[in-house]
């Protein structure tokens, strides 16, 4: 996958040189170990700043909205993993951005790593991390570890079945083999098997340290409402303090707004400073969308999402 970066840079240089795109949204190297930073590259000179590695865990579709499209005929190019591309498709299906305004530089992805999982292997803070193919060399003041990337993949990447972008303009590498999973949702099945009280406790425990910074919401490409319900102040829909009911209301509603739209890109979990696995909320909805409607978000520009069409074949009786 890291060999893609040279191809990505070459593609970007061409796109910027011939004026086909106004800017390229990609990842730049970070200032601290295991970090990357979304960047908009507008000149050929800045193409060198681009990186692609196992730490590009945010979703760049979040940086494309109808408010920041070029006014002239130019496009925005986006470096897109499977999930980023699916979220771009979701933007298009939801009439946020036209297909012709976005140039998708597809990246065949072998997954992003879970930084917390890596940090847990260390007694002290990590001072350096380098990646060579599928191997990470991670250093702290007290220890050094060579870690296989596959052993520290993020949970959503372990269960990803769309590593290759389903829609793209150009690919930056050969497609990677897609995973076929016997059990695509063991986490959801586990929570579903709990009795209601235990399940409630599970979610209460999950969000007990939530600080309502809204990093999960703001890292999510789906959350593009001009005013989020939690920020509405006239009338106010939800309390803004640390009351458990208000925190829970935020998480439940955020998740429901993602029903049939979430690509399980994991940006919400990546962004959470408190390490809360908010995917425990959205994964159930993804499973329902798949089980009930055979739907996975962002796979097809021409198919309407299950929650914005009526079908006589709807599995639920109440709607017929």
């Amino acid at each position: 996958m890291d060999t893609c970066i040279e191809k990505i840079k070459a593609i970007c240089t061409d796109l910027l040189a011939n004026g086909e795109v106004e800017k390229v949204i990609g990842f730049a190297g970070g200032s601290i170990p295991m970090a990357t930073r979304p960047i908009a590259v507008t000149s050929e000179a800045d193409v060198e700043k681009l990186v692609f590695n196992a730490f590009c865990g945010l979703n760049l579709a979040n940086y494309v909205s109808k408010n920041n499209l070029p006014k002239n005929g130019a496009k925005i190019a986006v470096v897109a993993k499977g999930c980023d591309a699916r979220n771009l498709v979701t933007h298009m299906v939801e009439n946020q951005v036209p297909r012709e305004k976005v140039f998708i530089i597809g990246v065949p992805c072998t997954g992003m790593v879970d930084k917390r999982m890596i940090a847990q292997r260390f007694e002290d803070e990590i001072t350096q991390c380098t990646q060579d193919g599928d191997t990470l060399t991670v250093t702290s003041a007290l220890q050094q570890e060579v870690i296989a990337k596959k052993d520290v993949l993020r949970h959503n990447c372990q269960y990803c079945t769309h590593r290759n972008p389903p829609v793209y303009d150009v690919m930056s590498g050969d497609p990677v083999e897609e995973q076929i999973l016997d059990q695509p949702f063991p986490d959801v099945d586990h929570i579903a098997s709990m009795d209601p009280e235990t399940r409630w406790d599970h979610f209460a425990e999950l969000t007990k340290n939530c600080i309502r910074c809204y990093a999960c919401r703001n890292a999510c490409p789906l959350c593009y409402c001009p005013t989020c319900f939690v920020d509405e102040s006239s009338p106010q829909w939800v309390g803004k303090g640390q009351d458990k009911t208000d925190i829970t209301t935020f998480h439940f509603l955020r998740a429901f707004h993602c029903a049939g739209r979430c690509t399980d890109c994991g940006a919400c979990v990546e962004a959470c400073p408190m390490g809360i696995n908010v995917r425990d909320f959205t994964r159930k909805l993804n499973k329902d969308a798949l089980d009930l409607f055979g739907w996975e978000a962002g796979m097809d520009l021409d198919r309407r999402p299950p929650l914005d069409v009526y079908s006589p074949d709807d599995p639920d009786d109440f709607i017929k």
Partner: protein, 349 residues
Amino acid sequence: MNFITIDKSNWTKGIEKSRGTYQIFGPVEDENGCQIKSLEPGGQPKMNADVTVMSPKSVLFPQTETILTADLDESKEDHHIMKRAEQKYTPRAVLGIRPYDARAIQLVKLNFDTKDYRDPYWCDAYEATTFVGIGQNRPTPFDFSTSTGCGPFSEEGLDVLLADLDDRYLAKVLTPKGEAWAAACGFDAGADTKESQVLFDILKKEAEKNISTDLGTDKLAQKSILDLYEAPFWDDVAFSCINCGTCTFVCPTCWCFDIQDETKHKKAARFRNWDTCMSPLFTNHASGHNPRESKVHRVRQRFMHKLKYFVDKYDQGIMCVGCGRCVASCPVNIDIREVCTIMNNYEKK
């Protein structure tokens, strides 16, 4: 100024003994990382914990704090009269606070305890609190506190500074509050002042060697506010920002809050919540006008407040103690050290 030696085998016993006087706060580790929490009897502070994700500012300034209450039952004589919420300000001790976090509390004090205004909630909590700090023999890679007027063995704002000497703590008692705490714990084994100070100086010097960031802040004060405000770099600084509140919430010096009223049946409460300049609601006017309408405006506000307005208003350096929490937690790697350098070096063309 005196020094005492605390054998680690006596530490827990002493802390438990002090519970007769103090409510104890300290770092604990849970599944969401290290946090400063109130410790129930038997719960011990993890003195060598990693830096806590959230700073200890919440001990004096909780994220949500009820400040006034009222009874809405009109049969009551004092109905609808807002009264100060009942809150106990019994003594509390924060154990294992890092020196930069103690300085941060002094910076926050500039806002809550002024010549003209005294925030009673913060000040009462402050007066009730004893800060027992621990020198950082091995500062984290994110620590740049030597550039912000403190450092791994800074004493500012602390009542006691502990040095970790493997099998024992050497405690430098800095204030009468610190003396009272040591007495309540039964820590009374005096140590030689001169020798102890030499040891502290050595530890400090060694620790400071591990801090590699040397952040320039010297030119911020002489810059023109408007030049910085109108500088061309803000779009680039803000591009990656997702406008979450992480940086401001994890920050030990961010003090902004918002007031909310809520009623339930016949009870009303007014409380304050941490606010964040990253939010579109921050200083949004009732008229609908928003002075910081876009993300770029909000990002600029955060850095201008910390690195320019504060510098000019208080003459106490920058509103940052170099803990590096925002750097470590920012989902998109916006690094205050880089922004500070850009601002410090900026020359209007």
